[in-house]
């Protein structure tokens, strides 16, 4: 503890002041804003604050993952719309599954589905997640995600763009509303 206090005293504050913010950084994509704003409104009404997503890679070629990761970058910045990627299915409202389900990932996918609390929605992202896509017919895969767990929504595309993903999540929220009202 004393070491830390001594260091604070000796080193002082080293951070620099923030430079002025250029105007072009704040330009926004009207489409993203429109879909995102709608998403934010609906999540607030439906879930109180935000939607938590657990992403499951069930044997994907990473194309869909890149697009999902793009949702988190400063351009789309999905967290401002109330969409969060979380680290455990225990925290999730929604499973976002990518890839054809390989034989080795079938059981882990099922375990993940079981570990997610109800009510939950499963979104299959990409063509491969729908029916195997370009991998269809391979001995190593089981097929689409719906061969293992029930799917609520397919977002087609190989891979779907971030905007398509956001739009898809709007529809997914509708499905979620159906599920949560059935519970009550």
């Amino acid at each position: 503890m004393w070491d830390m206090i001594r260091k604070i005293r000796q080193v002082g504050i080293l951070t620099e002041p923030l430079p002025p913010f250029p105007a072009e950084y704040t330009q926004q994509d009207p489409q993203v804003e429109l879909v995102g704003g709608e998403l934010q409104q609906r999540t607030r009404i439906l879930l109180g604050r935000s939607l938590h997503i657990r992403q499951v890679d069930a044997g994907s070629d990473n194309a869909a993952e890149l697009e999902i990761i793009a949702l988190g970058n400063p351009y789309y910045d999905m967290e401002r719309f109330g969409l969060h990627i979380v680290a455990s299915p225990r925290h999730a409202d929604c499973l976002m599954v990518t890839g054809p389900v390989t034989r080795n990932m079938a059981l882990p996918l099922l375990r993940t589905y079981e570990a997610t609390p109800d009510p939950k929605i499963v979104v299959a992202v990409g063509d491969a997640a729908r029916d195997g896509g370009i991998f269809r017919g391979s001995y190593a895969i089981i097929g689409g995600v719906d061969q293992v767990v029930p799917v609520d929504l397919y977002i087609p595309g190989d891979p779907p763009t971030p905007l398509e993903l956001l739009t898809g999540m709007l529809i997914a929220l509708d499905r979620y509303r159906g599920k949560s009202s059935r519970r009550e």
């Binding site: 059981l107 375990r111 993940t112 079981e114």
Partner: protein, 695 residues
């Protein structure tokens, strides 16, 4: 109702007959164990009757009539036994712990009968065990009744020796031998202090008097100069403290308890270490009749330090029985802390608070006897079933030994002082007495008592952490080894014995108001009536402390807790929890199976606290990776050790032991066993003498 003398004679006869009968039976038979248990229980029942007689009659605190005086048993002094308030209470403790433990030992000791597959492998002489066991219990009962110095010291030594033989029962293990030797050394160092203390205490009465009854000591103690009284107190404090397991004399406890058979650990920890407290109370309250404030202050500080030290080491120890042994150091510390506070209050003339603190101490003595023997019996059941006490290879026992797990949980909750169990009431009273200490005028006393309060509060939190670890790691989740996987429930009598203690834990918690007036009576008999205000008032189901300071009604609290639990369950049912429940495997990041290697370990559980208290533990990290081949990336064996520093062993006992060995080496220069050398000595001495006496 009963004649106390008769009961005592029957009691002695039962234990002596038990010792003979057990020895005469065939060693391997069930009869040996049954006889040992039955005689133990019968003796316990007699002790219980005697205790109840003592508590019922409003005996004076000291100097009541002699129960039994045995002339001629010992060559130069009669053995005398008296029953008074303090001894009745400790008899109660011995009986309450002794009866279930004797019952438990019947099924437990079959562990030591040779197995038909491998004859003689684990077999030990159960007959000799029975003799030592009966004599151990008898000597504990008699030592609290002893009313002369000679009787007391004789029985104290008998108790120490009997317990030594019980500790080294599994004599084929080297660890056990070493633990026994350490115990023998420590107990005799204490005995030396006691012996000198008693001799100094008797003062002029010592001359030409071999009896030295306590009533004579009370008179002679008054005439002693104050320096001599201080020295007597310090010697007694060391002597009795080493038996009670206070630091720095606690070193034998963590060694002896794991080495001894479980019923013996239960008795030693539940009862024997309390007799150290008995001795200290007998000396300070009765024989010396109180002393200056620093006596109590010293006891309080050492007690607080013992409590913290004990529990901190319990926290990082992963041997179930050693953890319990360290926890005994901690509880002895709490009792000493409360006793010390009582002496401080008494010397300040505030008998109200002194009574409160002493009642807390006495109640905690009884409570600790009950729950610690329960926990040791639980640990014994685990040991018998899995043959290991290492928590890192236990786990999952709650499914395999549900009753043992339940009883161990009750013990853990009690020791963590959670309501409605007994530990809570005792510690609550002790805390109340310390909180009320601001009524004292002295500023110095405030500092010590407040520090004691802080130590007690911190200890309470750490106890909870230690026993969450003890129960959670050993009993929950998946078994960490094959032995733990194949564990089976404890035999019937062991379950009964643990059940009795578990129920006692609950009853002593709920019905504390029935027993507290008796303890108050004991305290008042020594401390005098309450002044200036009331310390402790018991009305109906309620316990009140101070003047409108604190109040507690354990039974109502228990009922309230039960009601709350019922309401919660009912509410969950109402919310439709049954329909909504969905069972699936524990989330393990999607892995196919759950493996015990994913579990939280005892080491990991203790590690945050190990880091916080790193200034005390000074842990040493030792990581060794063995790589047999050329590549450093293929490790064959990785071992990680993170032992803590044992301060007293390292810096006190280590140097002393080395010093003694050094001295012994020097002595061996002149005395090294060679006959020729000795003959040379004799010759040279003869020549020298002849030369000197030549004239």
């Amino acid at each position: 109702m009963f004649d106390a003398t008769l009961v005592l004679i029957v009691l002695v006869a039962i234990h002596l007959a038990g010792a003979v009968a057990v020895y005469l039976t065939r060693q391997e038979s069930l009869l040996t164990r049954q006889l040992n248990g039955i005689f133990g229980i019968a003796g316990g029942v007699m002790a219980l009757i005697l205790a109840l007689i003592g508590l019922q009659r409003n005996l004076p605190g000291s100097g009541s009539t002699v129960l039994l005086s045995l002339e001629g048993v010992m060559p130069f002094a009669p053995l005398e036994f008296t029953l008074d308030r303090l001894s009745s209470f400790f008899l109660l403790l011995i009986a309450v712990v002794g009866i279930p433990v004797s019952l438990y030992s019947i099924d437990y000791m079959r562990e030591y009968v040779s197995h038909p597959d491998q004859p003689g492998a684990h077999a030990y002489n159960l007959g000799l065990f029975g003799v030592a066991y009966q004599i151990f219990i008898l000597s504990m009962i008699l030592v609290v009744l002893a009313s002369t110095t000679f009787t007391f010291l004789f029985l104290w030594e008998l108790m120490a020796l009997a317990s030594y033989f019980l500790v080294v029962f599994e004599h084929r293990h080297r660890d056990t031998q070493e633990a026994g030797t350490l115990y023998l050394i420590m107990t005799h160092l204490g005995f030396v202090a006691l012996f000198i203390g008693f001799m100094l205490l008797s003062g002029p009465a010592l001359v030409g008097n071999t009896t030295l009854s306590f009533s004579e000591l009370r008179i002679s103690a008054l005439a002693l100069p104050s320096t001599q009284r201080d020295i007597v107190f310090l010697l007694m404090f060391i002597g009795f403290g080493s038996k009670a397991g206070m630091i720095p004399f606690h070193v034998w406890l963590p060694q002896a308890h794991p080495a001894a058979p479980s019923p013996v650990s239960a008795l030693m920890s539940g009862v024997m270490i309390k007799l150290g407290i008995y001795g200290l109370l007998r000396i300070t309250l009765d024989l010396l009749g109180g002393g200056p404030g620093w006596w109590g202050g010293l006891i309080l500080v050492v007690g607080g330090a013992s409590a913290l030290y004990g529990i901190l080491y319990a926290l990082v120890d992963h041997n179930l029985k050693r953890l319990l042994a360290y926890s005994s150091v901690e509880n002895a510390g709490i009792i000493l802390l409360a006793s010390g506070a009582a002496l401080v209050f008494w010397s300040a003339g505030n008998t109200a608070l002194a009574t409160l603190a002493l009642v807390g101490a006495l109640y905690h003595i009884l409570n600790h006897g009950v729950f610690k023997s329960l926990l040791f019996m639980g640990a014994g059941a685990v040991l018998q079933s899995t043959h290991t006490l290492d928590m890192e290879s236990l786990g999952g026992l709650i499914k395999r030994m549900p009753w043992t797990a339940l009883f161990f949980l009750v013990g853990s909750v009690s020791i963590a002082a959670l309501p409605p169990f007994n530990g809570f009431v005792g510690e609550w009273i002790i805390l109340q007495s310390l909180l009320l200490s601001l009524a004292l005028p002295s500023q110095g006393a405030h500092i010590f008592l407040t520090l004691g309060l802080g130590a007690l509060a911190l200890t309470g939190g750490l106890v909870a952490a230690a026993f969450v670890k003890a129960f959670g790691i050993s009993f929950l989740a998946l078994p960490r080894s094959a032995q733990a996987d194949q564990a089976t429930e404890a035999p019937r009598l062991m379950r009964w014995a643990m059940g009795i203690n578990a129920v006692l834990c609950l009853l002593l918690g709920l019905l504390a108001t029935l027993l507290l007036p008796a303890l108050q009576g004991i305290s008042r008999a020594y401390l005098g009536p309450d002044q200036p205000t009331v310390g402790l008032a018991i009305s109906g189901l309620e316990v009140r402390t101070g003047t409108d300071f604190g109040s507690l009604s354990p039974l109502l609290l228990g009922i309230l807790l039960a009601l709350l639990a019922l309401i919660a369950l009912w509410g969950l049912r109402l919310a439709g929890i049954n329909e909504l429940t969905r069972r699936s495997m524990t989330w393990a990041c999607g892995r196919f199976t759950l493996s015990p290697r994913m579990e939280y370990t005892a080491t990991a559980f203790a590690n945050p606290l190990k880091r916080i208290f790193a200034f005390l533990y000074q842990p040493v990290r030792a990581l060794t990776i063995e790589t047999p081949g050329a590549s450093p990336h293929f490790a064959q064996d990785i071992s990680y050790r993170n032992p803590v520093r044992l301060w007293f062993e390292e810096y006190l006992y280590g140097p002393v032991a080395r010093g003694i060995v050094w001295l012994a080496r020097r002595a061996s220069l002149v005395q090294h066993g060679s006959l020729h050398l000795y003959l040379t000595y004799i010759l040279s001495i003869l020549v020298i003498l002849l030369v000197l006496t030549r004239g």
